[in-house]
């Protein structure tokens, strides 16, 4: 039987160029969706600040005295008496966690809800690059929101930002995002099968919220809590960023934290890709892939 000519057959061979095109297309599509809702965009750029204001006010109420924004007790475990910048930095980095968890973890479910998942998965491209595109678009939007929030915090909450700080901080954030990609991939994989992506993302958010030093130093937790915290990439990112911005340490002094972060990143990314491919095969066989 004569084989029909496939349009674009010469492009069916996967190449770096075609894969990058997939990533770019996914980024552009997702960012267009985001910009189609300007109110949503503005909301995420500003509103997360409201979530840590109660912590600041609580701290001021508890400490009191002539310098209510500084606590000697806090300095003993955190290394700095200034709990307000401590909380603010934790909240800004935590926002990367939130957008990665909810963005990536739900991205697959959103495609299923829109009815486009079947078409995406039946396309001849490498699905990993679609996921990379989704992850990158989430990171881009997270970064834009974080910059906006940071700018407000510099104005109102006494965060000091100098040029010498920015580059090492960006480096740490990139390492954090890599680790979050891996975790988000794991969530996306599980959501293929179990469909309750939102609950999984919430659960992951709770784990980060309690066991990572977002609002308090890791030493505040009991030993078992600190052990769990030490498995999370956010913990090391927070320790490193605070060390640079609040304690004025250099990047080289944080080599151990960076090394551990790299190891965690590699582990979760590998696990995420493996799990996603495995789950995709399983759900294709069961026929539940486009259910939501």
């Amino acid at each position: 039987m004569k084989r029909m000519k496939i349009i674009g057959a010469d492009l069916q061979q996967s190449s770096l160029r075609s894969n990058l095109l997939i990533v770019w297309s996914e980024i552009v599509k997702n960012l267009k969706f985001l910009l189609a809702y300007p109110v949503v965009f503005i909301f995420w750029a500003i509103f997360p600040i409201f979530w840590f204001i109660p912590f600041i006010l609580q701290g001021l109420a508890l400490v009191g005295g002539d310098t209510p924004w500084q606590s000697e007790s806090f300095a003993l475990i955190a290394g700095t008496p200034e709990f307000i910048p401590f909380v603010v930095l934790g909240a800004i980095l935590n926002s990367f966690v939130l957008t990665s968890l909810y963005g990536m973890g739900e991205s697959i479910r959103r495609e299923a809800y829109r009815g486009t998942l079947d078409y995406i998965l039946s396309s001849p491209c490498n699905k990993a690059f679609i996921l990379i595109g989704k992850a990158l678009s989430e990171s881009i939007s997270s970064t834009i929101f974080a910059i906006s929030q940071l700018a407000i915090c510099v104005l109102f909450f006494g965060i000091q930002l100098t040029l010498g700080i920015i580059i090492p901080v960006i480096f740490i954030i990139i390492l954090l995002i890599l680790g979050l990609y891996g975790m988000a991939l794991i969530l996306a994989a599980v959501s293929l099968k179990y469909k309750q992506a939102h609950d999984l993302a919430h659960t992951a958010e709770y784990v980060f919220g309690i066991f990572a030093p977002v609002r308090y130093p890791l030493a505040s937790l009991p030993l078992w809590g600190q052990i769990i915290g030490k498995l999370l990439p956010l913990t090391y990112a927070l320790i490193a960023v605070r060390s640079i911005m609040l304690l004025k340490n250099s990047l080289t002094a944080l080599y151990l934290e960076i090394l551990i972060l790299l190891v965690i990143d590699a582990a979760v990314i590998f696990l995420g890709f493996y799990l996603f491919n495995w789950m995709e095969e399983r759900t294709k066989k069961s026929g539940t892939i486009s259910h939501f």
Binding site: A36, Y37, P38, V39, V40
Partner: protein
Amino acid sequence: MTKRFTQKKRRGIFGFLRREREEKRQESESSDLVVALDHIDVKVHSGELFGLLGPNGAGKTTLVKCLSTILIPDEGTAIINGFDIRSQTSMVRASLGMVVGGERTLYWKLTARDNLMYFASLYKMPRKLARRRIEELLEVMQLSDRADERLEDYSTGMRQKIAIARALLHDPPILLLDEPTLGLDPTFSRQIRNQIRELAEKYEKTILLATHYMEEADQLCDRVAIINNGKIVAVDTPDKLKTMVKETELVEIVCYSPPPDIETHLKMQCPDVKIITLVHEDEAKGTPSKIKLIGGNAEEHISTVIDMLRHRNIRISSLNIGVPTLEDVFIKLTGTGLTEGERAG
């Protein structure tokens, strides 16, 4: 009754405010407004199975929503079971049951029984009566043995049966059915149509059936209103409507592989024929195409058409004269088909 919608879409919170400002302007300028219902005036008699036949976008669903009080008309009103849809909405809702085509009108994560019990409470039925009624309806729908399964495990047709059961829970005198067989396979569609017929004949319900399926309206309805672009273009029994297309006005030629330009040539040769349409079928499966001539003196042009086809070596399978369908009536009255894409010559 008249109902208009604005065409422009505005999103978001700011979009809502912009939309409001624009609509105030548009109402006075009458631009960018879609008239979904245009001075509809129709009467449905008690115990009648009344059809509303029209293509997608004709205004059927809008009319059904207005009658069920989901939409408020811009002008005019309607009386349902003696109650005004504008001022007596509770009594209107208590007087009717509604079935809408499409899948998502029930809770898929609940069982059929749970769905019906819940809606029975919203129809203010006492619990004992609700339980008894639900058992009766499940029996009628032949779903008693699956009543305690979640709807997500049901087929589309089974869900639609539960939707019909829901509409009948409180035994309303009036039923509004909006495309009840939409998306169903022929077997389920036949079952649903039989049930509709039984509801009208045996239980003497007054039924308004909105559909774009010509056969459905033809087979079931006592009277049919043809609706297009928000206007009622004709109301009568199906038989009387079909007489609007005279036998001499309808010729159907069944043939194989007619060229696409045959339509253009025939229109030039037969200028007094209102509609000439070429309906391509799947000839690979043995279903030939049809050339339809409607209106004017179609019968007189038979020889012209046959000569043209023979000249082009097109094999003619058969020739039919007369026997109009409601779709032919629709085409004659409106110039378009019941399915989108058919246009008048």
